[in-house]
Amino acid sequence: MYRVKVYVTYKESILDPQGEAVKTALHRLDYQTVEKVTVGKYFELNIADRGQNIDEEVDQMCDQLLANVNMESYRYEIESTTTEG
């Protein structure tokens, strides 16, 4: 089995209103050291190992569904576990 972690965030150039809001809230709580906050989505997937090309498969899932590539970028980490899928 694979354990896959996917991170989706807005592209650099896009204003992230959620990140701004979190930053302001942290400042209000007196965490003045916080200089920048980005908020994104985080997916954990358990994927059965069926001999597929797992990199390609995850890449496609991200492209098609998990991220909107017009405005978001993604990255992922794949970890193969011993348990058979």
């Binding site: 209103p17 809001a21 569904l65 909107n68 017009n70």
Partner: protein, 225 residues
């Protein structure tokens, strides 16, 4: 001639559109289930209603766009027939690539429901020719993710091709260039966040929306002749 209203799981402005088309505009609407693979015979226009398809749980419109019916909608649009997406419908059409850009969370991060003054930026489209260019119309908005985004190159194109149909006068959600509604390059697909179907009866506070439907009906009637 039929006006096909596509229903996804979680659509909730489907009946609102239905009633306006049937009771106010006196044309024939027909619901089309998302699992269908073809549009009804004699479909003259496709309308993608508002709501929360699949709960908008990933991104609004992201899951609905894979529904079986979407291939037929795309083919219909590619053939030059009119397709309009309102609110969640707009989100679905952008996710499906039928319209440029994408919709982000409102800049306030809150859902906003209130009437909005809009400027009719292009009064020559299939959907807007009953308006005057530059005219102010009042349509309500009701969305949490209506903050339109496109990159600079796309924006330049939108402007050059007159694809911006409506703009907000008091940008409520942070949309790029105050965009409230855009068409595709060919002009036969319109997406807009504001709800014309909620502004089509005086008793509900205004009827500017009627002219959008009247434009559409006149366009398809003319095309049929």
């Amino acid at each position: 001639m039929k006006y096909a209203i596509i229903r996804f799981p979680g659509s909730n402005c489907d009946w609102d559109l239905f009633y306006v088309l049937r009771d106010v505009m006196a044309v024939t609407p027909e619901f089309v289930d998302y699992r269908e693979t073809t549009l009804p015979d004699e479909t003259a226009a496709v309308l993608v209603p508002g709501g929360f398809s699949y709960g908008d749980y990933l991104r609004s419109g992201a899951i609905a766009r894979f529904s079986p019916i979407m291939a037929a909608v795309k083919a219909f649009a590619d053939a030059g027939h009119p397709v309009i997406g309102i609110c969640n419908g707009f989100q679905i059409l952008t996710e499906a690539g039928l319209l440029p850009g994408a919709l982000r969370k409102n800049s306030s991060l809150d859902f906003i429901c209130k009437p909005q003054p809009l400027t009719v930026t292009n009064a020559t489209t299939l959907f807007t020719h009953e308006f005057d260019a530059g005219e102010t119309v009042m349509f309500p908005i009701a969305h949490g993710e209506g903050n339109y985004y496109c990159d600079d190159a796309t924006l330049a194109q939108l402007k050059q091709n007159h694809q911006i149909a409506f703009t907000y006068q008091n940008n409520p959600n942070g949309s790029t260039a105050d965009i409230a509604g855009v068409t595709n390059e060919r002009g036969n697909v319109l997406g807009m966040m504001p709800h014309p179907e909620r502004a089509s009866e005086a008793i509900l506070g205004g009827d500017d929306g009627q002219r959008l439907f009247a434009s559409l009906i006149a366009s398809v009637t003319a095309a049929a002749q």
